[in-house]
Symmetry: C2
DNA sequence: TTATTATATTAGAAATTATTAATATTGGTT
DNA sequence: AACCAATATTAATAATTTCTAATATAATAA
């Protein structure tokens, strides 16, 4: 294995870290909730219908992946995305999914018109 | 839970399906290999250092997620991405990772110049 | 028709990830 | 200091995903 392959492997690893961090419904939801900026854990909790400790663990996974950052403000801890480009990733994904939907409805239309 | 929440839930589910499909190093690698177009399984195998049956399973996961399509040509089966926009997702991800790298090197520079 | 190459399927074991429940920490209040 | 609210940590269990090994199928060649 030459140098370039190894470099690519570690780049792959970086991509993988983000993909894995994001491949969970709670964490996707958390990112959506952070779209309109910084929120403390107690603001996120009501949307999530799960144990606080579990949410805390999911936030930690996003943090370890470098996707979110946090800072304490009094007794609250505020979370935010580190770089808004994570939303560009989501938007690109959504654009793909919209295409799929459109293909599906196109297909349906053709069946109806037979 | 009102209608819009449910709609959003299922959209979330769609996003999640793609994210999960992509959250694996072998499958990320497969997508990279398909960047320059259609390839048969036997062309993919040499890059992957794993059992053929395992690769087949990973391809199937990508297929079920609607990310790739396949068709048979003689005794070979050719795979390709269904929609190139999956590469836009990867590119957006890479752009985020480049930012991270730049931040890191900026930080390093500041430490050196103390 | 038998053999061969390419690919897929299946079931079970191994590994990873998610959830729960209990407890710890941190900062603000009384 | 004692207490309370917000958040984090930990260990155990549960659930999901991945891999392996064996076998199946499909197309072609002999």
């Amino acid at each position: 294995m030459d140098k370039r392959v190894l470099e690519n492997l570690s780049w792959l690893q970086k991509r993988l870290n983000v993909c894995k961090a994001v491949a969970n419904s709670t964490r996707l939801r958390l990112l959506d909730l952070l779209r309109d900026g910084e929120k403390c854990v107690c603001e996120l909790l009501p949307y999530l219908d799960m144990e606080q400790s579990n949410v805390s663990q999911h936030l930690n996974i996003l943090k370890n992946a470098g996707i979110v950052v946090s800072h304490r403000k009094g007794q609250h801890v505020l979370y935010n995305v580190r770089n808004d480009k994570i939303f560009d990733v989501m938007d690109a994904l959504d654009s793909l999914l919209v295409d799929e939907l459109e293909e599906a409805s196109e297909l349906l239309k053709n069946i109806e018109n037979r």
